[in-house]
């Protein structure tokens, strides 16, 4: 449970202790976990020595979950029960799932969608959580201690719903999310810190299921994203599908089973990868192991590199169109780009490298393993955020929101509030008014997208502002504030200015422990524990209480002038109450007293933070960093 401490801003509570944090690349096809050890970022291998864990899940008849290669081993026999490429469904609705072309059986669900398998019905968040859980266990086992948190990467072009789903999956897996980090930015960190050269770079990130193009400027220790573009439904999987479609067309087959299709897609992937690696031989035969149509008949997939490149060209062109748009948004020319970083296994394809070389006029940078580079960058960020900062190791990421955010207005139109490629965190407000006399409520519909009609944008949230004092139409002034935080997550507040009536929709996790859950777990834990364990739990709460009490006292002696006499008295009363409960042996009472003291000092903490920031901004010298 997180302890709300009033610590000195910028300092870690235990500066001499190394805090373990990891970076996780939760990919469509593969996932990786990496950590910084002895100042070097490294991907952590699994129990078989593999760095890439397949993003696959299979739940067997005993309700046991298998993740990774163990799951894939079931995919030919049980194609609809072996869940792969589930990233494509994160933050998507039941209707989106049906339209996705994925072969699974979908069920509608209150919040999103569930995938039906023989032994379990799972939401995409639950599937992702299982994969994250495996990586967490792997990391803690290898590093030898509990994690304080993880940085999880997402495609830069992921929208708000997709990001929230990712955060929810991490919470469900018991991971403290230090930050959601955009994949191209993560790659840029890995390269930037490696090369240390300033300039504007492009990151071409072609993963298993998503494509991102980001333009970043590295200067003065700051990684600033200038523009980003992409397609969350374009990746290596789509190239495999093209090969399979072509084979079926050539053979005149149109009705094959799911098992056969899965087997063919697998073979197509192996074929595509082989075509990347074999420069001399240009024809590969791959045997399809299951009979098609008639017993004993097998399909052999064969394709030359030249033939594949003809098939692949339209998809390549789509990626370059994204690149053009990002350059236009950034107001840059190709000649302004110092280098292009290649990310994602699919960038090993010679046609991709050639196309990128031609478009940008320079040889793409590939010295870091394109499969690992995102996880490595995430590990570097995680290490920094956990508080393990060495002097001189000072850098900052300034990312952007990838899609325009707006609100529905009369006639189904969209009023754009925050344009795409705005640096985050960002907050923007706009005033709206009522359209009928005596109107007491306003419906707020938040959407994301570039189009002008609501029907062409993605709906993010709806809420109502009620209790507007009745006025003549057009007289009410309602201020709607959109705020996007550093993770790219949105919250919207609406406030009627005259009366102060307010309503908001904020990011609420759909998974996670409520306060009642925590209390119940604690009580149950106590009841079941033996005497020694009970004493330990009591001791832990007492130590937590003592630490908080000490920080509050230190804060009061430093900044009590920020408080009114009444405020100070209230805090001191709560301090005493917490001290008293800590001398007792009621674990739940101590926990509640700690919480009460934290809440009572929230405003004080905010004021202290504000004072500290103002001092830093006005008083610092130019070479005083950090």
């Amino acid at each position: 449970m997180a302890l709300l401490q009033i610590s000195e801003p910028g300092e870690s509570p235990a500066p001499h202790q190394r805090r373990l944090a990891v970076g996780i690349d939760l990919g469509t096809t593969h996932s990786l976990v990496a950590a910084v050890r002895s100042s070097v970022a490294e991907v952590l291998p699994d129990e078989h020595g593999h760095y890439l864990v397949a993003s696959a899940l299979y739940v067997d008849a005993d309700q046991a979950s298998h993740v990774g290669q163990a799951a894939l081993s079931h995919q030919v026999a049980h194609p609809l029960d072996t869940l792969v490429s589930i990233k494509r469904l994160m933050g998507r609705s039941y209707e989106d799932a049906l339209a996705s072309g994925m072969p699974y059986q979908f069920l509608p669900d209150a919040q999103s969608v569930k995938i039906h398998t023989s032994h379990a019905d799972l939401s995409p968040v639950e599937v992702a959580a299982q994969i994250l859980q495996k990586l967490k266990v792997l990391a803690e086992g290898t590093l030898g201690d509990a994690l304080v948190g993880a940085v999880i990467t997402v495609p830069a072009y992921f929208d708000d719903a997709q990001r929230q789903a990712t955060r929810d999956a991490a919470r469900l897996a018991g991971l403290n999310v230090l930050r959601l980090l955009n994949e191209p930015t993560a790659a840029a960190i890995a390269y930037g810190l490696d090369h240390g050269s300033e300039g504007v770079y492009a990151v071409y990130d072609l993963g298993g299921g998503t494509f991102d193009m980001s333009l970043l400027r590295l200067s003065r220790g700051v990684f600033e994203v200038i523009a980003t573009g992409g397609d969350t439904a374009l990746g290596g999987d789509d190239f495999d599908a093209l090969i399979v479609e072509d084979a079926l067309r050539t053979l005149g087959l149109d009705n094959i089973s799911h098992a056969e299709r899965r087997s063919l897609l697998s073979a197509a992937r192996r074929l595509r990868e082989a075509l990347s690696d074999t420069p001399t031989a240009d024809t590969i035969h791959t045997e399809h192991t299951q009979p098609i149509s008639q017993p004993g008949a097998c399909i052999a997939l064969s394709l030359s590199r030249a033939q594949f490149e003809v098939l692949a060209q339209p998809l390549i062109d789509q990626t370059l169109a994204c690149a053009r748009r990002a350059l236009k948004d950034a107001n840059l020319l190709v000649s302004d780009i110092k280098g292009v970083v290649m990310v994602g296994g699919a960038t090993r394809m010679p046609i991709v490298r050639a196309a990128v070389h031609t478009f940008f006029g320079s040889t793409p940078l590939t010295d870091l393993d394109p499969d690992q580079v995102v996880a490595l960058g995430a590990a570097l960020q995680a290490n920094l955020l956990a508080g393990n900062r060495h002097p001189g190791e000072d850098w900052l990421l300034l990312d952007v929101t990838p899609l325009t955010l707006g609100m529905e207005t009369m006639g189904g139109l969209v009023e754009h509030i925050i344009p795409r490629n705005s640096t985050i965190p960002v907050a923007r407000a706009q005033e709206f008014t009522t359209f009928k006399d005596g109107q007491t409520a306003l419906a707020i519909h938040v959407v994301q997208g570039e189009r002008d009609l609501v029907s062409d944008c993605r709906s993010l949230a709806r809420f109502e502002l009620r209790g507007i004092p009745p006025m003549v139409a057009g007289a009410a002034r309602i201020r709607v504030t959109f705020q996007v935080d550093a993770d790219g997550l949105l919250s919207v507040t609406a406030r009627e200015i005259a009366s102060g009536v307010e309503a908001s929709v904020t990011v609420k996790p759909s998974y996670g422990l409520s306060d009642e859950d925590v209390a119940r777990m604690l009580t149950e834990g106590m009841a079941q524990a033996d005497h020694d364990a009970q004493m330990r739990m009591l001791r832990e709460q007492q130590v937590d209480a003592a630490q908080l009490i000490e920080s509050v006292q230190a804060a009061l002696s430093a900044d009590a002038d920020l408080l009114t006499a009444a405020e100070q008295t209230r805090i001191e009363q709560q301090l005493q109450a917490t001290q008293r409960s800590a001398t007792g042996d009621d674990v739940e009472a101590i926990r509640l007293a700690i919480k009460a003291l934290s809440t009572a000092t929230d405003d004080f903490a905010a004021k202290r933070m504000d004072r500290s920031i103002r001092a830093a901004l006005t008083g610092r010298s130019l070479d005083d960093v950090g």
């Binding site: 709300l4 509570p13 700051v222 508080g387 990421l397 965190p425 920031i613 006005t618």
Partner: protein
């Protein structure tokens, strides 16, 4: 130096002036970002992180407004108490109104003909007009003649709009 809610120049430690070197502003923004960004407070409490986020959003907004010459000019007027009245005040000098109509017609002609050379010539003409307007606004702001500057800035806003329309029409 006080840091009140709206003073973007003070936030970056820069003098209030229309003339502003892009590199100087960029360096100032990054210096402030290093101080206030939530990532610098990753181990702090939720309340402290929220304060950092508000400062960070403010710094990004200040940078956005000061970076673009037109929005910087508007900001200097507005913070001197001169309301640009962009919604209500559509009065402009007769000369400029004529120029507006002429440019509208030129844009329509180019849309109809699709002539690349004409388009390039038109873009160049607009660019020259922009240079003159910007220089005039600079002089007026330096002389603290905010009301007069406001009128020229309204013209500048119109120019900006038509230049965007022409650019959207140009082949990439």
């Amino acid at each position: 130096m006080t840091l009140n809610e709206q003073d973007h120049f003070a936030l970056f430690g820069l003098p209030r002036s229309f003339v502003l070197d892009a590199g100087v502003l960029d360096a100032a923004w990054k210096r402030v970002a290093m101080t206030v960004h939530p990532d610098r407070f990753a181990t702090a409490s939720a309340v402290e992180k929220r304060v950092a986020m508000q400062w960070s959003a403010r710094a990004n907004e200040a940078y956005r407004i000061l970076r673009d010459p037109l929005s910087r000019a508007r900001y200097l007027c507005e913070s001197a108490g001169v309301d640009l009245q962009t919604e209500t005040n559509t009065s402009m000098s007769a000369d400029f109104l004529m120029q507006q109509m002429q440019w509208h017609e030129q844009l329509d002609d180019i849309r109809d003909s699709g002539d690349v050379k004409d388009c390039a010539a038109f873009a160049a003409e607009l660019s020259d007009a922009l240079t003159v307007t910007t220089a005039t606004v600079q002089q007026l702001l330096e002389a603290k003649q905010y009301s007069e500057a406001a009128a020229r800035i309204r013209e500048w806003m119109f120019l900006d709009k038509i230049i965007t329309q022409v650019r959207a029409f140009e082949p990439t």
